[in-house]
C-alpha cells in the first residue's frame, strides 16, 4: 500500500525547499573563497558568505514561537516537547513544522489561554489521537513489555550466565589422577625421548 500521509509529503516538500537554499549557499561560499581574489576581497566575501549562511539558517530554524506572550509560549513549547507529531512521527510537536503540528500547537495555546491545565490538554489530545501522541510512553498494560522487557531479558541473561559459570567451574576444578591414570601418564611420558619424569 502507498503511504497515505500527504501531510508528510508536504512536509518533505518544505524540507526540500529549505535544503535547496542551503545547497545554494554552501557551493557559493566555496566558489567565492577559492576564486583568485585579493585578501581584502576574500575577507569581504567570507563575511558575506557567513552572513548569508546566518540568514539562511534563520530560515531553516525550527518551529517559531510567536512572540506575543513569552510565558505562555514557553508553556506551549514545554508541553509540545512531550507530544508526538503524528505526521513526522519521530519528531515532537515542538520540533515539527508540519501543518498539523502547527495547528495542534495553536490548539494547545488556545486551551492554555482558556485556563486549561496541562493534564486536561493532554487528555483532550489523547481522546482524539490516542496514546501514540504521548512522546513518553505511559506505563500501562500495553507498554509493560516495552518498559520491563529489557529488565526481564537482563535477568534471564544473568541467570544463564550464572548457570554457565557454575558448570564451567565444576569442569575446571582439578581432579586428582587415580593411581591407574598416573601410571599410564608416566608410561606415556617415558616414550618421549630425552624427557625425564619429575
Amino acid at each position: 500500500m502507498k503511504p497515505p500521509v500527504t501531510e508528510f509529503a508536504r512536509h518533505k516538500q518544505r524540507n526540500a525547499k529549505r535544503n535547496r537554499l542551503r545547497n545554494f549557499a554552501q557551493p557559493m561560499m566555496v566558489f567565492v573563497l577559492r576564486g583568485r581574489t585579493n585578501p581584502k576581497m576574500k575577507r569581504t566575501a567570507l563575511l558575506l558568505a557567513i552572513f548569508s549562511c546566518l540568514s539562511f539558517s534563520s530560515v531553516a530554524k525550527e518551529a517559531q514561537p510567536s512572540a506575543a506572550d513569552p510565558v505562555l509560549e514557553e508553556r506551549v513549547m514545554k508541553l509540545s516537547k512531550e507530544l508526538r507529531c503524528l505526521v513526522c512521527q519521530n519528531e515532537t510537536l515542538a520540533d515539527s513544522r508540519a501543518d498539523l503540528a502547527e495547528d495542534l500547537r495553536g490548539q494547545i495555546r488556545e486551551q492554555m489561554k482558556a485556563g486549561k491545565s496541562d493534564k486536561e490538554i493532554i487528555a483532550y489530545l489523547t481522546d482524539r489521537y490516542g496514546k501514540f501522541i504521548l512522546y513518553n510512553p505511559p506505563v500501562d498494560p500495553t507498554t509493560y513489555l516495552l518498559w520491563f522487557g529489557p529488565f526481564i531479558l537482563l535477568l534471564a541473561g544473568l541467570a544463564l550466565l550464572f548457570r554457565y559459570l557454575k558448570q564451567r567451574k565444576e569442569l575446571i576444578t582439578e581432579q586428582p589422577l587415580s593411581a591407574d591414570e598416573r601410571r599410564r601418564a608416566e608410561a606415556l611420558l617415558k616414550t618421549i625421548p630425552g624427557k625425564k619424569v619429575a
Binding site: 503511504p3 500527504t6 503524528l86 490548539q107 489523547t126 482524539r128 489521537y129 490516542g130 496514546k131 501514540f132
Partner: protein
C-alpha cells in the same frame, strides 16, 4: 542436539518478529474514536456556504465521512475509487473538505467529478482535530446511532471497500 535447536528456534522467532514488523505501517495509528460517538460538528456546506450541515442530521443512517483536500496528493489517487463507490449507491459518502480553499475545492470537484452527497468546509481544521485526522485522505464509517465503527487512514482501496466497509455496512444496516 539442543546446541543447534535453541539457536534455530531463536532465529526463527526473530524472523517472525521482523516479518510482522515489516507488515506494520507505522503511519497507521489506532484511533481512540472507534466505537465512540462521532464528534459533533456544524459546518458550512462547500457548494452553498449559507447552508450548514451537521453530523446529527445523519442519525438513523449508515454513512461514510471522507476527509479530503485539493492539496492532498493521495486524495487524487483515491478519487476515481470514491466515484465508483458512490455510483454503486451502497453507502452515502459525505466529504469533509479539510483545510482547503473553497475555490480550489470546487474546481477540483468540477474537474474530477463529485462523489459526495455534499461536502462541508473545515477551513481551519478544527473538526479535523476533533476527528483525529493526521493524514488525509481519511474515511470514517458511522452507524445509525452516530458511532464511528471503522476508520481508514489513507485511500479506501477496493480491498478495504469490499472486505471491510461493505460487510460492516451491511451488518449495520440490518
Amino acid at each position: 542436539m539442543t546446541r543447534f535447536v535453541i539457536p534455530l528456534v531463536l532465529f526463527i522467532a526473530l524472523i517472525v518478529f521482523l516479518a510482522i514488523g515489516l507488515r506494520h505501517d507505522p503511519h497507521e495509528v489506532p484511533s481512540p474514536l472507534i466505537n465512540k460517538p462521532a464528534p459533533a460538528f456544524q459546518l458550512a456546506q462547500l457548494r452553498e456556504p449559507s447552508k450548514r450541515f451537521s453530523a446529527e442530521e445523519m442519525r438513523g443512517k449508515v454513512w461514510l465521512l471522507n476527509v479530503w483536500a485539493s492539496w492532498c496528493i493521495t486524495c487524487r489517487d483515491e478519487h476515481p475509487l470514491l466515484l465508483e463507490y458512490a455510483r454503486s449507491k451502497a453507502l452515502p459518502i459525505y466529504g469533509l473538505n479539510y483545510k482547503d480553499k473553497r475555490e480550489d475545492a470546487l474546481s477540483w470537484l468540477g474537474e474530477l467529478g463529485d462523489p459526495y452527497v455534499l461536502s462541508v468546509s473545515d477551513l481551519d481544521g478544527r473538526v479535523g482535530i476533533d476527528y483525529g485526522v493526521y493524514g488525509a485522505p481519511e474515511t470514517y464509517l458511522i452507524d445509525r446511532n452516530g458511532v464511528i465503527r471503522f476508520k481508514q487512514v489513507g485511500p479506501v482501496t477496493p480491498d478495504i471497500w469490499e472486505q471491510k466497509i461493505l460487510p460492516l455496512a451491511k451488518e449495520l444496516n440490518k
